[in-house]
Symmetry: C2
Subunit: 265 residues, 2 copies
């Protein structure tokens, strides 16, 4: 596990308690420069983040430049996990954010780093795992990766020069995560009991189920329209921030509808 | 002038007003890597800062790597001003902060970037200029440079890995400066009328006057103790955040004392 255990004073009990608060995973998609990965690793460790995930990094990324740039955060670098696709990289996460400065024509909630960090801390208290996606240095995140995200994080910046260096964007997420971490106990009240968010793999299972059913019934038969329709449908459920129970309910709904349809056909 | 003019809605008047709010100067002392200077320039422009000052940068700093790292913020780089010493670089500033992660045995106020940025915004509304000093990559600021500062800025970070990359530290100052800039009008109430802080050159003039007088009267005659004594005395007046009027008053006090002494001797 990559979570960092924070030893804190137990307040009125006067004793130290060990508490595992897992910071967000940093997911770099197709990073092109080993140096940026190294600098990002250093920025992560500056703020107690250690869960680095790389999706199809450019070959040869783990070079001397990367290690030099990591400057003491070599551990974060060597424990980084590699993935073939974004879906795989985020499968165990409950909440995924897309870091982007460009505005898109998708209906998604846009959060500041400070606001997103607060939501992530609230989730972390109940054991939820968050992750933040960062696109390749030049092109940024694709719409497909955005569609996998629950919300967008945009750093408020100079509107004429808003493009942040990759590692800088990672730094700001870590900074905002860390800077109010000591107030994490205050968040307990905000957490609902007996419910948890669906993981991304549960959500993906639901999407597969739904889209399979829609393919079978011919709803998605026009191939050139399929990608857009799928994205729009997924977007609706992404925004709903489904719980694990709700995902099971929805899958029951689909099964019920399919059985009914086949029964009456 | 390097200030960026922000056009804002005039509120109840419904008209646009142009208002010049000058962000803090970024003062890099003996930076060793052109790349870091370039990345710092980019980070500055991301948050509308443009006043870059370099004290004794390593020879050949303005190389291809620096320009590539600046990535579109070449203007900030080419307009950077060079200085031989820190005193000269901060002469026109009213308030100077030292960015350092190391704790020192000096009695100085320690601010978070967020707090420092708020104080700088308050000052900016009344036309005060701030600056933040950053030391060389490996060694950080000297005690001499710290003694020139009104307060220390320390980024809250992982206590086991708190050393930030130089450009990252610059970024966090810019970010905190910028992120609440839109609320700058709310600060008007905090500004006192008819008074302004002393500039660093006014303060330096006072120090020269005082130390000259102390040399003359033999107070600083033990040469090996002189640097420490001077630093301790300066530190007292640094912390007092003198106004321009107070500096004149104090210089009057010194002149008065010296005249009196010479008169009675």
């Amino acid at each position: 596990m990559t979570g960092i255990v924070r030893i804190k004073d137990g307040g009125t009990h006067g004793c130290k308690v060990a508490e595992s608060v897992r910071g967000p995973a940093i997911v770099l998609i197709e990073p092109q420069l080993g140096e940026n990965i190294g600098t990002a690793a250093r920025a992560m460790l500056n703020f107690e983040l250690s869960d680095l995930r790389l999706v199809r990094p450019r070959a040869g990324w783990q070079n001397e430049k990367a290690i030099a740039a990591a400057s003491g955060a070599k551990g974060v670098l060597s424990e980084a996990r590699l993935f073939e696709c974004t879906e795989e990289a985020i499968a165990d996460l409950h909440r995924v954010y897309a870091s982007t400065g460009r505005s898109r024509d998708m209906t998604q909630q846009i959060l500041s780093p400070a606001h997103a960090a607060q939501v992530m801390r609230v989730g972390a208290v109940s054991g939820e795992l968050s992750g933040v996606l960062f696109g390749p240095e030049r092109s940024g995140l694709t719409n497909e990766d955005l569609a996998l995200s629950d919300a967008v994080i945009t750093v408020p910046a100079n509107s004429y020069f808003k493009s942040l260096n990759l590692a800088m964007a990672v730094l700001l997420i870590g900074y905002e995560w860390f800077v109010h971490l000591d107030s994490i106990h205050d968040l307990d009240n905000l957490v609902m009991v007996g419910t948890r968010s669906a993981t991304k793999s549960e959500l993906q299972g639901f999407f597969d189920h739904l889209e399979g059913a829609l393919d079978d019934c011919g709803f998605l038969r026009v191939q050139e329209k399929r990608p857009n329709m799928v994205r729009n449908i997924r977007n609706i459920f992404q925004r709903a921030q489904l719980t694990e129970q709700e995902v099971r309910t929805l899958r029951g709904v689909i099964s019920g509808l399919v059985d009914h349809t086949s029964g009456t056909r």
